[in-house]
């Protein structure tokens, strides 16, 4: 279903429906993530992908107008690029550990300590939170800074100047 939604987005020329489809896609993604036990991620994807992103896109559409002008002139070269990448990925993934293989490297290295020691060392039973805020707290700091950068970037780009400057031709 997600695949269908993604392809529908690709084919849709009305930007408004493309945005709505992208929102649906995000919700489907969130559902899949719940099935994969990633509840924290699913929650974020639902609120961010389906919520914030859609609101932002709709806001931008409101400012930009909503119909895509032209059908594709030459669809083949981009398709070729995309297919090359598929080939590389298929080649790469064939050697990966099989789905749900408990002996695969990600399950045997590094992570066991989080699961076994995490609650004791940090006093937090949600291991995702423990890893997020403590073991890899510095990544989260970086993440907050990315949000911060985007925030002040948007301010810098879109704030209405008090007076119109000649600096912007």
């Amino acid at each position: 279903m997600m695949a269908v939604a993604a392809i529908a987005v690709a084919l849709q020329r009305n930007l408004f429906s493309a945005v709505v489809l992208a929102g649906i896609y995000s919700f489907l993604m969130a559902t899949v993530l719940v099935a994969l036990d990633a509840v924290d991620v699913a929650m974020t994807e639902a609120s961010v992908g389906a919520g914030i992103s859609t609101v932002l896109l709709l806001g931008a559409l409101h400012l930009c107008g909503g119909e895509e002008a032209k059908p594709l002139a030459r669809p083949w070269p981009p398709l070729a690029v995309a297919l090359t990448i598929v080939a590389a990925l298929v080649y790469g993934t064939l050697g990966l550990p099989a789905f749900s293989d408990p002996q695969a490297a990600p399950h045997t290295h590094v992570v066991p300590r989080y699961l076994e020691q995490g609650p004791k060392e940090t006093g937090v039973p949600n291991v995702v939170t423990a890893v997020l805020a403590s073991y890899r707290g510095y990544d989260t700091l970086g993440e907050v800074l990315v949000v911060f950068t985007a925030g002040i970037g948007v301010i810098a780009l879109l704030r209405r100047a008090r007076r119109r400057k000649e600096g912007k031709p």
């Binding site: 080649y91 990544d139 810098a156």
Partner: protein
């Protein structure tokens, strides 16, 4: 005690400066904080470099969690070298920005500019210093997002489109990098680069590892504008505000080269990359294409800023050429050229920024007779241009010298000849400036006589002086680059 925490402070102090600037909202204070912070970063980088030169790699566990469970900061000869370059350029560009930014940006956005400048600097430093693959991605995004905005703040409306294209390609690059890291993680179960390197030899040659190598190469190549993935660079450099162009040209692509080096030699290991795969050949071919085509395209540009931007693509080709040789001299050349080209291009773009302030833009029609109108600026451009060509006595010569040495050592005579021959194209495009500035009388579009303000000229000349200084006294650059090259070939990250 401070010394022991330098690796963390190196990045977090510039990071902390950004929110402070946003809170204060005052452009003078913002400039002061940004300058102070960049000088602090420079001092910290120098101290770290001496520490590393004296006592080997420094490792710092953030949050006191031992790696690979926590995130590690790791400074060795190579990263210390890049840290010095990035923070040094930042320290020179910050004073320059004072007048340049005031002239090019609306006043109520100036403080935001400095906040973004600090973020961009911190992001680049964080990318260099980190020993963790995912942390690298996070900091890459900080610096990239900041630089997209910085470019979009340019005065010309094309700056917006340039920033947009850079955003799309940069994000694709970063996502490719994440895919590569993901594959590596699935195979090794770790994100720490050193730990990865230790666990990879057992898996060498398996398909996911090869695919990861491919994805990381393509992703990072997009960021470092390796031919043919350079399309975003000329527009971005040409339309960004002058201070931004100088800073990004001197640092951003260099940090990406550093990442490529780190992954090739520090993680995958020279044995896999050089020994079993045709990576060196691919790199050599692409580099040669980059050097030749970009140099030729540069010849036809009508604007000095664009000319220099295309020349950057060509010069990056020289760096990757050195990487592709994968020998001791080749890598030394790559690392030395990383540094030398950083300061040369920094100097050139700063001087062009001065011209842009006086003349509006840097189209060649406005440069007619500039030698009489702005004598110091023109002289600086010529001197730095000599370094770009690689004339003996300038920094550029040193890098080309090692490139030729590396080629001869590998008995690739044609490669040595090519390096010399392509330098002649550089002569041609630098000559175009000389011709306009000194041999033509001032035209209608030439600005009124008068130099750029001292606050802009002094930083620019500092870098010009550095181009000459590092051409004569090579002890810092070559020694640093040599130990970095040995470190890379030694296999240890």
């Amino acid at each position: 005690m401070i010394l022991e925490h330098l690796p963390a402070l190196q990045v977090t102090v510039p990071l902390a400066a950004a929110p402070l600037i946003v809170l204060v909202r005052q452009s003078t204070v913002a400039w002061g904080v940004a300058t102070a912070v960049s000088w602090f970063a420079f001092a910290a980088a120098l101290l770290l470099a001496t520490q590393v030169a004296g006592g080997g790699p420094v490792s710092y566990a953030l949050g006191s969690w031992p790696p690979p469970w926590g995130i590690e900061y790791r400074v060795d000869a190579l990263s210390a070298f890049v840290l010095v370059l990035v923070s040094g350029v930042a320290a020179v560009v910050a004073p320059f920005a004072w007048r340049s930014v005031a002239a090019e940006l609306p006043r109520d956005r100036v403080y935001l500019f400095y906040a973004l400048y600090c973020l961009c600097l911190a992001g680049l430093l964080g990318m260099t210093i980190t020993g963790d693959a995912f942390n690298l991605f996070v900091f890459m995004e900080i610096s990239s997002l900041a630089s997209y905005v910085l470019i979009a703040l340019g005065r010309h409306r094309r700056a917006l489109l340039a920033a947009y294209q850079y955003l799309i390609l940069g994000t694709i690059g970063a996502t490719f990098y994440v895919i590569g890291v993901g594959l590596l993680y699935l195979m090794t179960g770790t994100l720490n680069l050193a730990d990865m390197a230790a666990r990879l030899p057992a898996l060498a040659g398996t398909r996911p590892v090869l695919a990861a190598l491919a994805f990381i190469t393509v992703g990072v190549s997009l960021k470092l504008a390796l031919f043919p993935l350079h399309l975003w660079l000329p527009n971005a450099y040409a339309y960004a505000p002058s201070a931004v162009t100088a800073f990004l040209a001197a640092t951003a692509t260099k940090v990406s080269v550093y990442i490529l080096l780190r992954f090739y030699f520090g993680v995958f290991g020279a044995r896999l990359v050089v020994g079993e795969l045709p990576m060196p050949e691919i790199l050599l071919a692409l580099s040669i294409l980059a050097i030749v085509t970009a140099s030729l395209v540069a010849l036809w540009q009508a604007d000095l800023k664009r000319l220099l931007a295309y020349s950057s693509v060509a010069q990056i080709g020289y760096i990757t050429l050195g990487v592709g040789m994968a020998s001791r001299d080749g890598l030394t050349a790559a690392v030395v050229h990383l540094f030398n080209h950083g300061i040369t291009k920094g100097a050139l773009f700063l001087l062009v920024g001065g011209i842009a302030l006086r003349a509006g833009r840097a189209g060649f029609e406005r440069l007619q007779g500039l030698g009489q109108v702005m004598p110091l600026t023109s002289l600086g451009i010529v001197l730095a241009g000599l370094s770009l060509i690689g004339v003996p006595g300038t920094a550029g010569f040193i890098s080309k010298w090692y490139l030729v040495l590396g080629a001869i050592e590998a008995e690739r005579w044609w490669l040595a000849a090519l390096v010399v021959a392509t330098s002649l194209i550089a002569v041609a495009y630098v000559w175009r400036f000389v011709e306009a500035a000194y041999l033509a009388p001032p035209g209608a579009a030439t600005p009124q006589p008068g130099e750029a303000p001292r606050a802009m000229l002094v930083p620019a000349w500092l870098l010009v002086a550095a181009c000459i200084w590092f051409g004569l006294d090579t002890s810092f650059t070559v020694r640093g680059a040599r130990s970095a090259a040995l470190l890379l070939l030694g296999g240890a990250p």
